[in-house]
Symmetry: C2
Subunit: 404 residues, 2 copies
Amino acid sequence: MAKPLEGIKVLEIGQEIQGPFAALFLADLGASVTKIEKRRTGDPSRWMFPKMIGGAEAKNPKVSHYFIAMNRGKRSVTLNLRKPEAIEIIKRLTAAYDVLLTNYRPGVLDRRGLGFEELRKVNPRIIFGQASSWGPKGPWTTRPSRDILAQAAAGLMAKTGMPDDPPIPAGAFIADHSGGLSLAAGIMAALFARERTGQGQRVDASIYGTLIAMQSLEINYTSVSGLETQRAARGHQFMRGGMYSAFRTKDGYICIAGVHDKLWHSFCRITGIEHLEHDQEISANVVRNFQGYRIQKIMDEIFPTRTTREWLDDFVKADILATEVADYKQLLQSEQAHVNGYLRHMDHPEAGPITVVGCPVSVGGEPDLHAAPPPELGQHTEEVLLEAGYGWEEIDKLRESEVI
Amino acid sequence: MAKPLEGIKVLEIGQEIQGPFAALFLADLGASVTKIEKRRTGDPSRWMFPKMIGGAEAKNPKVSHYFIAMNRGKRSVTLNLRKPEAIEIIKRLTAAYDVLLTNYRPGVLDRRGLGFEELRKVNPRIIFGQASSWGPKGPWTTRPSRDILAQAAAGLMAKTGMPDDPPIPAGAFIADHSGGLSLAAGIMAALFARERTGQGQRVDASIYGTLIAMQSLEINYTSVSGLETQRAARGHQFMRGGMYSAFRTKDGYICIAGVHDKLWHSFCRITGIEHLEHDQEISANVVRNFQGYRIQKIMDEIFPTRTTREWLDDFVKADILATEVADYKQLLQSEQAHVNGYLRHMDHPEAGPITVVGCPVSVGGEPDLHAAPPPELGQHTEEVLLEAGYGWEEIDKLRESEVI
C-alpha cells in the first residue's frame, strides 16, 4: 500500500528544529517536502554546532549531522524573502501545495504578506502550520526561545537532577523535537478535515505547550493535590529512591524499573540478597520501589560485581524489568532500533554509508529501513520553479536579481 | 468550524499512559473516545501512585490526578475480555467505530481474536493503532517496559545529569507521553489515507522509537562523527558550560539560553561585569556559550544578588534569552499556558474547580480553555451497548454473567 500522505505537497519555510522536524515527520509518512532556504547561508543547521564538533577527530568533519537529521529526503529551494518576486513565488507554490508550515516567529510571514489570510485567498485548501516557541496567544507570543528555556518554563528542568544539582535539563533537545511532532500531528488532523470540508485551516503548535503536555500526569498531580513534587533524582518525582533507577555495573550501567512483589524472591536470589528478602525496611513494595535509599545503597555495592550483560541475562529470564543504559554508540548498534526503522541506513554523497535516525511510526506494516540524503543548498530551485510554471528566462532573471 | 476529528469514533483498549494519552490527543482534536476498562479494577491509573501521594496533606486525597490527566472527556465501558461475549461486543463496536487503539503488549489482542486481521473482516475501514514499548518487530517486541527503561535504552539517560551523577532520567514520564503523541499522529495519517482509499490500516508507534526520534540531532552527531558526546550537565551535550544554563537567584532560579554577540555588551552592563566584556577567556562566543566554566562560576556568584523577576525585567527588555525556572505551582499560574489552552479549567465532580493540562495543538484558531471530567468506571457501559444495538435484556444477562 502507498504511504498514507503520498501525494501531499508540503512547503516548509523553516529552520533549525521544530519546523523542519515537523516536515520530516510528514515526509516519513509519504509527503513530499520542498524546503525554502535563505540564499547563500541556508538553514543555519547547515553550519551550526560548528559543522562537526570534535574537529579533526571526527570521521566526517564537513558533513552537518544536524542538517541531515532534520532534512533528509527533502528538496531545497533558495529564496530571498525580502524581494517581492520571492513573495510571488511562494504564492504561486501555495496554489499547488497542500501545506505551508513555518517555525519563523508568529507574525513574520504575515508581515511579508504570507499570512494564512493572504494565502487562503490563493488556495482555500491550503493548511497553514505555525510552529512557535510559546503559542499563538498571550504575552510571550513573539518572545524568542531555545530548547532549554522551554524546559525551564514548562517545569521539567525543576524536576530533573539529583537533590544537590542545580536545575538541569533533559540532556537532549527533546522540547524542540517534540514540538515538531505536535505540529505534524495537528497538520494531519487538518488534512483529514479538509477531505471532508474542502477547506484548509490554520494549525498552531508550540514547544512550550508540548512540553507541558509531556508532563500531564505529573503536573496534574500538583494541580489536584496542591502539593509540589520534589525533583526526580535517580528515578521519578514519585519514585525518588529504590529500584526504579540506574546502577553502575562492572562495565557500564544497568537500569531497573522497580521489582514487582511476585519477582522479589527471584531478584533476591539473582543478586545474592536472600538474607534481606523478608527485611521489612527493604522489602515492602513502596519502600523497595519508591523510597528505598537503603536498598539503593546496597545495590550500588552489588551491581559492580558483574557486567551489564551478565545481570541482564538473569533478569530478562526472570521477567525482571531491566535494560542497559545505552550511550549513543551502543544505541546505534541496537538490532531492535534497526529492524523497526528507528535507525536507518543512508548513503550520503560525502559521508558514504551512515546510520541516521528514522521515524517512530509505521503505517501499513513495513517500516522503511533506508533514508534519502538531504539536499544541497538550492539544489531544486530550478526544478521547483519550472514545476510552478516559471520559464528558463524568468528563472535567469530571478537569479540575476538575487531573488533565488 | 467544527473540530477536525469531529465524528470520529475511537475505541481505546488501553491503560496507564501511552494508549490513553494517544486517545486523549485525538479527543482534544474532536474525536469521541470510548475507553474499555477491566471490570472492578479499571485502568490502574485510577489507583496507581497511591491515589494521591502525600496523603493527608493533599487537597483531594481520593481523586486520581493520573486518571484525570489521561482520560478526561472520555466514556468508560467495563468489559471482561476473557469472556467470549466481551470479544463479541468489541467486534460489534468495531463495526461502528473508526479507530481501535491499544497499548496492551503486541499480540495480546490477537490472542483474544481481536487482532487487526480479525477486526478488518468486521470493518475494512477500521484503523488499528498498536502502541508498544519497543516496536512491532525484533527481539524486544513483547518485552515489557517502563518510562525509565526507554530513557535508558534510547540514550537519553546517559546524556542527562551532572558529571558526577549516575545516569539519571529526565524528571517526568516524557518517554511514555511522547510515545502516545506518536501513535496519535500515525493514526491521523491513516485516517487521512482512509478518506482516499476507503481502507483501514494498522499503525504502529513505540515509546523507544519516539524517544530515539526526539534526539535525532544528537544521535546523528555520533553516527556521522563517530564521536560519543558527554552528558549535558547544566546545558546540553554540545554546550556543557557557559551561559546556556540555569542559575540560582535571590528567590529561585533563572535560565539563560546563551548570550548572542550583539547582546554581550548589554548583558555585561546588566550583570555588572563590564570589566570582563573584552576578556578573551570569557567573551569569545564559543567559550561564553559552549564551554565557559569560568563565566559560569562568576555568574553563579552574581545572580543570587537579585530576584528572578528583577533579572528578567532587564533581560527581556534587552532581548536576552531568559526565563524563570518554573516549578509546577509557578507553571500552573502561567498566563501564557492558560490563554493557549495548554492548561485548562475543569469542574471535577469531587475535586471541584481544578486546573488540568490541555493540548499543545489548536486547529482553526481558538484553543479550548475548558476540559471535561473523566468518567466513572463503567459509567457508559449501558449507553454504549445500547448504541451498539444490545437490548436491556441482553445487557442484564451480560451483567449477570460478569461480562460487563
